[in-house]
Every structure is written in structure tokens, then in C-alpha cells.
Symmetry: C2
Subunit: 405 residues, 2 copies
């Protein structure tokens, strides 16, 4: 039984968060730096963007995560510290050192993350004061989680945090998280930030495989604009303070329960990122069935979800399904037109290579709904995948034509 | 010496065109069907979309083009005859038969092409009367070319036709063409229509290799929205009426001259399609240099050109170059950040892994120009490529959200 509870990222035992406005963002009301801290050092695992061009904090974190031990996370928004060379790397390292010094923890146990504009050096004086003030504000109330969820936002409109409880044997284990989107979102790990905390006791290798599996079916299955970011990161910290029987690869039942709770959190966050996609007015689920392989299904789902023609048709509440079929056709997957079946919100509109005529009237009212479900059966095998995306609106263009200057 | 002349697709000797409004498009002023006819049967070659889902006329043409002989082209707009099953195929075949009967030519020497909405059966009565009327209107004036260029338009704003003359030995050879875009445009052959006529005498194999080579560096190097169409076709018809010495693979000098003139035509048309891209306000050239291979260069150029974040930044006249570098980073090509050099309209803005600071003021005025040239040097080798694209505007979203209903 998975139960959602308040508290977000600080809901698990032993976690605190603190955040402030340090001056990177213009509006003084907007927090732009924050710290997540665990009373005890955590087993930790993280996944990073697969972009060849990565921000300085990613380079730094790739190194320190190898030890599998993390005690705190420091994160800022408004500046990605990307394309900033050696100086940028030193700045990321300095953020870790400042944080560790103030918290009296090891400097190689601090995750550093930055998001925002690419190509500008961090204002290190502001960062320095932001770190000490954030630490002064550390606390474990729901508002602390909400505030740090806001502190990592860029073009996001809605702060994203969640916590769930599950029972493992006689112990309750809690998982909390904060996340941010909402542009530069494309599948292929990980295209955003999600910081996950848990008080579960779990072996490092099991934690690593759990998060990898969970990300595969959540954050790697969303796309907003197909542009992969330089700064993406999903990190999970487990401090063991729930004192459950340690979860390992051989603890089958508890491992399944923990994985389920973790999947619940990551899928919730993945969907929340899509719903808050830049300019999004519709939440779109693309389901590919009867594929020869999962990889085939994913390729097709991605082509459909990233086609600007499909996305604008959905924005216009227009059942222009020819755009869906034609996008499936250029995914580099062998298809047989006569075996395809296409449904929108469960209404059959194309089968045996022919459109259903006349177009069911109900389809027009379905297109007006906030959630659109596209299902395409390929008739080539028995593999399936689901991907989540949003529409493409004039608002998306406005946001991104005006973001920088 | 390549010289542009009037006449478009009917400029080469022996070609005529005719077009009318037959009732597929709503506005009676808009021609929606047309015929291109050569007095003599032509050697012909064609390239088609690589989409797995192809329109009925593509299936039909793939078969008949194998003979290498074409006498006429019949083309309609407003309906793509795609996703229309067996009936759609029979309709395409019927268009060829009706055309051949009226023109008294062989029925397997007629190219059929349809563009427009996907998933609707052709109104064959209208088509039938449109074919006979188009034939009644056949002529070889500039307006005949202009009218058929208009007749193949869908969301295009500007009709696209051109003709060039070049001298091969003592004979003048003419190449003419019409083309259409302007959505569902993505590199990977061919993403639009372009019908090319020439009075050159040329062997079939040479014609085939010339058109393939020419398309590779023109239509395959443009992208508007990354959505590959089901109906794309580039066809060339050569009737030999210029009576030049027959061009073969061994006629080096004349072959080079012919290829150059053909390349001029295809590149002109490719750029014209991008300039008339849906909602386009800027013409963008993406040049990748110092790549290890052409394929690497093309992958990166494509990622940059198809990123909605790059396209909206250009729309907003915003030198947000971090989006360009980060798009290059996810093209699945190994990069070394410290070797990259990025220029916009020849102004250096990023090198040695660092932004040029302060940002040159001139850059802001350059961003306001109608033509933006992005040059990225990878420092990995000596291969280059150039790709052409346009920006992404609110108007694109408007056009495509409202196209269907």
C-alpha cells in the first residue's frame, strides 16, 4: 500500500531543506538557491544527461557519485554553469566546499546542481552568501520542501514535490522528492532535476539498480520539445534511518515494494513535469502496442510525441490523425500500413489501412478534453511502451522567443 | 555559364503545362490540379519519401519509374491520397489512365502525385473533369508554369518555379522546375514536390545519378519542422529535344556542366521552400565545419536546425547560443567542448569552451536581420556540411493548429 503524505523531500526521517533568494533571479520573492541535508550520510545514486556538452556541476557530480556516499545537495537556479570552462568547474567545486564547510561534512559528499541560462559564469559572491543563508534556514516542515521545490524552478509554473509511505515488514519507509522541468525536455535520461530522499535502509548496488529501472520508465519516457539539456540529473539519497531490514538484491518482497513506491514517485514527477511543460494546454499519452521490440515501440512513440505537426494539431483540438500515422512512418521501424490500428481516447479512427468513415462525431468533443490518449497498434509483435508529452502552443513560442533578453 | 530565364517548368523545348480549379480546394480561384506534358517521351528518374507510410501515388510511381520513361505528370493538391488503402491505389492508377487516354500516350508513362490532407479518398469525379480541363489548357507560356506552380501549393504562400539555360558544346540546354513546400519538411529525401523538366539529351543511368547527387545536397539538406511527409517526390524528365551530344557517365565536361545547372535549380528550389516555410520570418543557414565525417556534420546540423529552442530563440532575435551548443551535444557525435568555435553571422561568440565576454554588441543588430548564419567548428576533422532551415514562430503554431478543420 503506497500512501501519499505531506512533507515532500523532507518527509523521510532525518532530512531537512533550506532555501533563499540570493540574487541570481531578478525577483526578490523567488528563491534561487537551496540545500537538502541528511542528518546521516546517505547511500546515493544518480543519473545524468547523456548530452555530450554537460554543465560543470554534472562533470563534478559524475566523479563524486562513484563513492556512493552523499550527505547534502546544493542547487541553484537562474544560471546553469554550463559552457563555462575550467572556471565553471572550479565554481561548482567551490559550491561543494562551501556547503561542506558550513555543514561540517565531507566535501566529496555534496551533490552540486545548477539550472538556468547557459554560458554565464556563476555570481560566486551571491552563491556564497546564499549557501550560508540556506543552511541557516534548514528545517523539516512541508514549507521547506515547497520552498526548495520553488527554488529550483526556471520556466516551471507549478512547484513539484511529493512524498509517499510504504510498509516494509514492520517498518514504514518514506520516499520524498522535488523536481523541475519544464523546457529542454526529451527522453534519454534525464532532462530535468529530480532529487529523491528516502529513509530506507538499502544496499548501494540495489539503490543504483532501483533508480536506473525507475528512471527508464518515467523520466526517460517524457518529452516536451525534444531538446536534451546539459544539466539533467536524477539523484536519490537513502539514509537508512527507517531502520527497516536492509534491502538487497535478494530481499525479493521488500525490494518489490520499495521499487513500486519509488516508481510511484518518479512517474508522478515525470507526469507533473509534462503537465507543467512550457505553454502546455494538453497532457498527451502516447501508447504504442503490438511492436516487435520495446525499442521499436519507443522510437515510434518518440517520433509521434516530438512531431510539431502532431503537437500543434492537438493544440488546435483537431483530430488530424494523418500526422500521427505519418510520424510513425519515419521512425526507422518497418511498418505494415494494413495492420495499423489507431485510437484517440479509445475511439477507433484508422484500421486495415483505411480511415473509419464517417469520423465519429464523439471524436471532436474528445479532442477538447485536457487529456488526450493516442494508442497505436502496430500488429508486428507483443511489445508496448507509453510516453507522455504535451501540445505545442503559441505560448511555448512566446516563452522561448523571449526567455533570454 | 548558368543563366536564369523565364518560363519555369515549360522553358525547356517541347514541354507544356496546364492547370485548373476542379473543386478539391474550396476557393474557386485556387488551381488544384495540373498536368505537365512533353511532346516526346522522356527519360525520367525520381526519388521518393523514405517514410514507411507512403501515399498511394508514391506506391504507383515507384513501380512505373523503373522503366525510366515518362511522358506526362498529373498532380493535384488539397488531398494527399494517403492512408486510403486499395481504393486509394486504384484512384492513383485511374488518374494515370485518364491522363494517358486524353493525351494519347502510354498509361505506364504518367507520373501521379497528390498532396494535401491525409486520410481522405479523392473526389474522383472532380479529378476526372480536372484532368480533361487541364489538358485543354495546356500551353507553354510563363503563366502556364506559374499557374501549375500555384496548383501544387498547400500552405505555401509563394509559388516556386525557375528555369536556367546552360551551353553544352554548341547546343543550349534548358532546365525548368516547379516545387512546393512548406510544412512536413525534414531532410532525408525529399519532403516536398519538385518536378524538373529538361530538353537535354542524357542517358537514363546518368540522369538517375545526376538527380540523386543533386537532391543529396539540396532537398535533403533542408528542414522546417522535422516531420517527414508521406508524399514527397522529386522527378526529372529529359526529352532530348535540345539535340545536344548525349550526356553519359563518360562525357566529363558536359556532364559537369549539366550537373552544375541541375544543382543550381535544386538548390534554388530547396532554399525557396525554406524561405516559404510555414510561419517563417528568418532564413537560417547552419554550417558545420571541421567534423570527422560528413555524417557527423549532418547529424549535428540537423539537431541544431530542428531544435524548437534554437528556432524560437532565432524567432525572438535572441542570441541564446547555449541552445545551439547544447543541441550539438545530443546529436550522438563525440565532441570536445574545448575545441568548439561558434559564430553567428561571422561574429565569434564561443571558443575554447568559453563564451566570448562581453557579448559583442553588434550581435544584437545581426540577430534582427532576415538571414542568420550559424557556423560551428568542431575541431575534430576536415568535413563540412550546410543545412538550411527557418525559425519557429507563433504563426507556425497557428497555421498548424487550424489547418484541418
Amino acid at each position: 500500500m503506497i500512501k501519499t503524505i505531506p512533507g515532500g523531500v523532507i518527509a523521510p526521517k532525518g532530512f531537512k531543506a533550506g532555501s533563499v533568494h540570493c540574487g541570481i533571479k531578478r525577483n526578490i520573492k523567488n528563491h534561487d538557491i537551496g540545500i537538502i541535508f541528511s542528518e546521516e550520510s546517505c547511500k546515493a545514486a544518480a543519473l545524468f544527461t547523456t548530452n555530450q556538452i554537460v554543465a560543470a556541476p554534472i562533470k563534478y557530480c559524475r566523479k563524486i557519485i562513484q563513492n556512493g556516499a552523499v550527505h547534502a545537495i546544493v542547487v541553484n537556479s537562474g544560471n546553469a554553469n554550463a559552457c563555462t570552462g575550467k572556471k565553471g568547474y572550479n565554481d561548482a567545486e567551490k559550491m561543494a566546499h562551501l556547503t561542506s564547510k558550513h555543514l561540517n561534512i565531507k566535501s566529496n559528499e555534496v551533490i552540486v546542481a545548477s539550472t538556468g541560462i547557459i554560458g554565464r559564469l556563476l555570481p560566486m559572491k551571491k552563491i556564497q552568501s546564499g549557501i550560508s543563508k540556506s543552511i541557516a534556514h534548514l528545517g523539516n516542515q512541508n514549507t521547506h520542501s515547497l520552498n526548495i521545490a520553488k527554488a529550483i524552478m526556471t520556466t516551471d509554473i507549478v512547484p513539484k514535490h511529493i512524498a509517499v509511505k510504504t510498509r516494509l515488514g514492520r517498518k514504514e519507509v518514506t520516499i520524498g522528492a522535488i523536481a523541475k522541468g519544464s523546457g529542454m525536455i526529451s527522453p534519454k535520461m534525464a532532462t530535468m532535476f529530480c532529487f529523491i530522499t528516502t529513509d530506507a535502509s538499502i544496499s548501494l548496488n540495489t539503490l543504483r539498480s532501483c533508480i536506473k529501472k525507475s528512471v527508464e520508465d518515467s523520466f526517460n519516457q517524457i518529452t516536451i520539445d525534444g531538446h536534451m539539456s546539459t544539466s539533467d540529473m536524477v539523484a536519490i539519497l537513502a539514509n537508512g534511518m527507517a531502520h527497516n531490514q536492509n534491502i538487497t538484491s535478494s530481499s525479493k518482497h521488500n525490494l518489490t515494494l520499495f521499487q513500486k513506491a519509488l516508481d510511484y514517485v518518479t512517474l508522478h514527477m515525470a507526469k507533473a513535469i509534462v503537465k507543467d511543460g512550457e505553454g502546455a494546454t494538453k497532457f498527451v499519452q502516447v501508447e504504442i502496442n503490438e511492436a516487435k521490440s520495446i525499442s521499436d515501440a519507443r522510437k515510434i512513440a518518440r517520433m509521434i510525441a516530438e512531431s510539431p505537426l502532431v503537437k500543434t494539431a492537438i493544440n488546435g483540438e483537431d483530430p488530424n490523425w494523418g500526422r500521427i500515422i505519418s510520424a510513425a512512418g519515419y521512425a526507422d521501424v518497418t511498418l505494415d500500413e494494413s495492420r495499423l490500428k489507431l485510437f484517440i481516447n479509445k475511439i477507433t479512427i484508422y484500421k486495415n489501412g483505411l480511415p473509419v468513415t464517417p469520423i465519429p462525431k464523439r471524436l471532436l468533443s474528445e479532442m477538447k478534453k485536457d487529456e488526450i490518449k493516442i494508442q497505436l497498434h502496430l500488429g508486428m509483435g507483443n511489445k508496448s511502451t507509453t510516453l507522455w508529452t504535451c501540445d505545442l502552443s503559441k505560448e511555448y513560442v512566446k516563452i522561448n522567443a523571449e526567455y533570454h533578453t
